[in-house]
């Protein structure tokens, strides 16, 4: 992929007194249990990864897994105890307060689980807030905020107070606010967790539509595995502060790295997650039937077509070159077979 925007090298976050000293003594081998005995709680344990420009990395984990802490280290809302974090090549932890503020004002936007709107400001004032903090004059910031109001579909409600809006609408304001300064990097901390399921789905679709248009670099935190599968380019699964696996949704479903990850993938309907490319046979490109499917098709969408074939179905890439093949039996195998042996 293209250039790296966020880069983490062995990031640790340990809460408690003497955390720094204990981390140094441990030589990077942090064991949560021994630390806890000494009064320290391990939030993030040796996290290393990169996020490329325009990529959406979803960090998935249950509550207490350290996913929000990791995000707060990268946005430097808390200072990491150890390791290095680079934002567009800049060492985040080396920045002084002024540079950090500059970075946040121009490069970062963040959406919060509880919306975190300012209760005394109206919708449009909330959205204009980061701009006014930056020093943009009232007229420009309000105009820009009105554009954002339209973008998230809240026209007509710009003069409402947050308390007068529903949860979904409040989060739209939160999203609009985080986008007002046109940041390159977009942090979302469980943005849809506080919403009810129907609204959540609607907001997810809306979010994908926005991302299509804006192509931001995104770190998205969630505890909902389905949400992660639906949105992510890549997923990082966290447990007890450790990233258990970081891979594409398909790879996580097909090859869970640990027992913990496998438990999540068990109930996932594969045909909705996997694309043809994930299950095709690249070695056999002969004896193909008439039907060709694209390697990027989601299995669910083409399963019926393939299953009605008797021959092997060819798989083509976007230039219509044959890159592999798939037997109808493989589809059945994927949909029903995988769950028994857990692979």
């Amino acid at each position: 992929m293209s250039e790296t925007v966020i880069k983490c090298e062995s990031v640790y976050k340990i809460f408690g007194e003497n955390a720094k000293k204990m981390l140094e003594e441990s030589n990077g081998n942090v064991d949560a249990k021994t630390f806890q005995e000494k009064g320290c709680i391990v939030g993030v344990n040796n996290a290393s990864f990169e996020v490329a420009k325009g990529e959406m990395l979803v960090v998935m984990g249950l509550s207490g897994s350290g996913k929000s802490t990791l995000l707060r280290c990268i946005s430097r809302l808390t200072d990491a105890t150890g390791g290095k974090i680079f934002i567009e090549g800049q060492d985040l932890l080396e920045l002084n307060n002024k540079e950090l503020i500059e970075l946040r004002r121009n490069k970062m936007g963040m959406v919060f689980q509880s919306f975190a709107l300012l209760p005394h400001k109206t919708v449009v004032e909330n959205i204009a807030f980061p701009l006014q903090i930056k020093g943009t004059n009232t007229e420009d910031s309000i105009n820009r905020a009105m554009e954002m109001v339209k973008l998230v579909g809240l026209d007509g409600r710009e003069n409402y107070f947050p308390r007068e809006l529903s949860g979904g609408q409040q989060q739209r304001v939160g999203i609009a606010r985080s986008l007002a300064v046109e940041p390159d990097i977009w942090f979302l901390d469980e943005p849809f967790s506080a919403l009810d399921p129907l609204i959540r789905k609607e907001m997810q679709d809306e979010f994908l539509r926005l991302q299509e248009k804006l192509q931001k670099t995104i770190m998205f935190i969630t505890h909902d595995f389905d949400e992660a599968l639906k949105l992510a380019d890549r997923i990082a699964i966290m447990k007890d502060g450790i990233i258990e696996q970081l891979d594409t949704p398909a790879n996580i479903v097909l090859n869970p790295a640990t027992e913990y990850v496998r438990k999540f993938t068990e109930e996932v309907p594969r045909e909705k997650v996997l694309v043809i490319e994930d299950v095709m046979d690249t070695s056999n490109k002969d004896n193909l039937g008439d039907l060709k499917v694209s390697k990027d098709d989601i299995i669910e969408n083409v399963a019926e077509k393939i299953l009605t074939q008797e021959n092997i179905v060819g798989v083509v890439d976007s230039n219509n070159n044959i890159v592999g093949s798939i037997k109808p039996s493989k589809i059945i195998d994927t949909v029903f077979g995988g769950r028994k042996n857990g692979s």
């Binding site: 809302l77 300012l118 606010r177 985080s178």
Partner: protein, 717 residues
């Protein structure tokens, strides 16, 4: 045995009471003991014992230690006096430039600081006062008396009342709307035509200096405490004591430090008004969801921006309650500081009190209430003001308030000028209505009270005699009969049963301080009056509150009534009761009951309101009737909140008992009052104030601990 297991607490309490009464009976009243009248205490008497501490002589009547502890803290007031004197007159002498004599002069640092502070406050008050009422001090402050003699036209003429009234209405309209504008206008017109203009403006100028300063200091210190644990720890005990300290106990030390006058009043007001502001600021800032702070940080706020644009506005609900408190305290201090020579409505009120003129007191009191409510509503509206970004306004629309004010300014001046022709030779009513030339309803009220007195004299007298002879005197005697040791055991035991060792230690320390002070007997008298007042207040308050709660409208109405009664200067309550019941404990207690019923009622209604709706529905679905619902569900759940009301009731009652000294009581308040006119009163006043504060704190500690536990038990927070 089974009962013992089932209700262990009950038996612990019973045991405590048994020990207490056993001690009471076991310790006899010493034969030499008598309740000493105030005057006799300062007379040297061969029967007195003497001890020396830090070179100071402390005289006292010695009794059996079990009966009354010796006043081992008797040196404290003397020591405070000496320290104050030393600080003011001898500590850190430095060279200061003297403007008048044009030379350096040696002065102690604190004296110089106090003088400068005084000058600064005086300047601020005079500035506002002269804008409102006219004068020349402000101009003189910038120039000199010679300059004014040369250019006498520079003297500020003061604003005609019509302009101030119009200005207040227009400002209210801009902040809130028509309703407040009408209220503001009517308030100003009332003040003017009832001839209260000058004292009201004097009081207002005092408030307009004291309130913003208290707000700024309170907010600043609150923020500092929020940011630093160390600052909070240092502030917390002071805040606690100040909350229950009777306000005019602070007057005496301030007299020593800052002298007499409006400036001293402002400083004292700040001392009293800042603590609640600090507490509420901390409370508000603590309650901000952490994500809101993070949202502010992620928007790229600097620390200042975060504080001003995110934290303070988000915490504004509590901060506004703080502002409300500041305004209320300012007005109550505006009255009390009349004792140290502040001008304004308080002075008139004090005068009316001395003349037993209920009518005048009512009118002046109403002015104070009205201005207090107006300022409170205006500050609230200001904080909630919204900006309209989208209205495409014309020049006139945008500036209409300024234009209207300019117009009314012109009209006011023209009217005042015309007035000089109409009212030739007499007072210009269009400029200012003098104090005794306004309308007055005083006669009506005075006659009303007189009529009540004449008509019901027999009954009042009979009631009064019965109450004093059959209830109050025996009760007072019982309280005084409590041996010091028994009281200590009771207090510490209660502390232990409610809050464990920690509470027991706190209560023990507070009680010991009072027991070791020279005023234990007086504290018992204070306690007896407060107890009586609190019991009756709670009975009335809880009943009225519960009845009013049955209907939404009556509940809202009652809360409104509470508001008005609370802003009403507490002195005013003393006058009618004094006229009816004379100089007796009855008068004080009735005033206490009227005043202390306010929080009891308010907290009952609010407590009942706070019961979750879901529970109401659940109860209704289980088929309870109204009475069952009240006793089985609403009372138990509202009880913790109602207990906080009890806490407030105690504070209010103590406050009024102390104020009751003006009627003539024999409790701690009487000594504070005496200290006011004593040149060595600072130490005594402060120590007495601390004693009263500690009585309040003992109950405060016990109730709060109990409420905290109960709330945890019920799972409500």
């Amino acid at each position: 045995m089974e009962y013992l297991k089932k209700y262990p607490k009950l038996f612990q309490w019973l045991f405590l009471l048994i020990v207490f009464f056993a001690l009471c009976f076991a310790i006899d009243v010493p034969e030499t003991y008598k309740f000493i009248r105030g005057q006799a205490e300062f007379v040297k008497d061969p029967n007195q014992s003497v001890y020396f501490f830090l070179g100071k002589e402390v005289r006292y009547y010695a009794f059996d230690v079990f009966w009354r502890l010796p006043p081992l803290l008797g040196w404290l007031p003397i020591w405070i006096n000496d320290s104050l004197f030393f600080l003011m007159n001898e500590w850190m002498p430095m060279e200061f430039w003297n403007e008048d004599t044009q030379e350096f002069k040696t002065r102690p640092l604190l004296l110089q600081v106090s003088r400068n502070l005084t000058a600064f406050m005086t300047f601020l008050i005079e500035l506002i006062r002269e804008i409102l009422l006219g004068g020349l001090e402000t101009i003189v402050a910038f120039t000199s008396w010679d300059f004014i003699d040369a250019y006498p036209w520079l003297e500020l003429p003061g604003l005609p009342w019509t302009i101030v009234a119009a200005g207040a209405a227009i400002l209210s309209y801009k902040l809130s709307g028509k309703g407040l504008a009408v209220f503001a206008g009517l308030t100003m017109i009332y003040i003017s035509i009832f001839g209260q203009w000058k004292p009201s403006m004097q009081t207002l100028s005092f408030i307009l200096v004291a309130a913003p300063l208290s707000f700024i200091f309170g907010l600043g210190l609150g923020i500092a405490a929020y940011k630093s644990k160390r600052v909070e720890k240092a502030l917390y005990p002071i805040l606690l004591v100040m909350q229950t300290m009777p306000q005019y106990a602070v007057l005496v030390p301030a007299l020593v430090l800052f002298g007499v006058g409006d400036h001293a009043a402002v400083i004292i007001t700040m001392v009293v008004a800042v603590p609640p502001m600090i507490l509420l600021t901390i409370l508000g800032l603590r309650a901000i969801p952490p994500e809101v702070i993070e949202a502010g940080r992620m928007s790229g706020c600097t620390n200042w921006q975060l504080m001003l644009k995110v934290l303070i506005p988000t915490a504004r609900r509590d901060i506004l309650i703080g502002v409300n408190q500041v305004i209320m305290v300012c007005f109550s201090m505006a009255v009390i500081s009349a004792f140290i020579g502040a001008k304004g409505l308080g002075f008139n009120l004090l005068l009316a009190l001395n003349q037993l003129n209920i009518g005048l007191a009512l009118e002046a009191g109403l002015c104070i209430s009205l201005i207090a409510i107006l300022l409170d509503k205006m500050s609230l509206a200001w904080a909630n003001k919204q900006t309209d970004y989208f209205g495409n306004l014309t020049f006139f629309q945008r500036n209409k308030n300024v234009i209207f004010f300019a117009a009314s300014f012109l009209i006011g001046i023209i009217l005042a000028y015309v007035g000089t022709f109409i009212f030739k030779g007499s007072f210009n009513y269009l400029f200012e209505i003098p104090h005794n030339k306004g309308i007055s309803t005083a006669d009506f009220w005075n006659k009303g009270v007189d009529w009540i007195f004449d008509t019901f004299f027999v009954y009042i007298k009979a009631f009064n005699t019965w109450l004093i002879q059959d209830v109050l005197q025996p009760m007072r005697a019982l309280y005084l009969r409590m041996p010091a040791v028994a009281t200590l055991v009771l207090a510490v035991g209660a502390g232990y049963l409610i809050g464990g060792i920690r509470s027991a230690l706190v209560v023990a320390a507070l009680t010991l301080f009072i027991a070791l002070s020279p005023w234990w007997d007086r504290a018992l008298v204070t306690l007896y009056m407060a107890t009586f007042g609190v019991v009756i207040s709670c009975l009335i308050g809880f009943t009225v509150g519960t009845l009013c709660f049955q209907n939404k409208k009556s509940a809202a109405f009652m809360l409104g009534v509470c508001d008005i009664f609370q802003t009403f200067p507490s002195f005013v309550y003393l006058i009618p009761v004094m006229m009816l019941f004379g100089i007796t404990d009855t008068s004080v207690l009735i005033a206490v009951i009227v005043y202390a019923t306010i929080p009891a009622t308010r907290y009952t209604i609010e407590g009942l309101r706070s019961v979750p709706v879901g529970l109401h529905e659940a109860a209704t679905m289980s088929g309870v009737n109204k009475f069952q619902r009240l006793t089985k569900i609403e009372f138990p759940l509202a009880f913790p909140h109602m207990m906080l009301g009890l806490n407030q009731t105690i504070v209010f009652a103590l406050f009024m008992v102390i104020i009751g000294a003006f009627i003539g009581t024999e409790d701690l308040g009487q000594y504070i009052l005496k200290a006011l006119s004593d040149k060595n009163g600072a130490g005594i006043g402060l120590t007495l104030g601390i004693c009263v504060a500690f009585i309040g704190l003992i109950f405060d500690n016990l109730i709060r601990t109990w409420v905290g536990k109960r709330k945890k038990h019920l799972g409500i927070d």
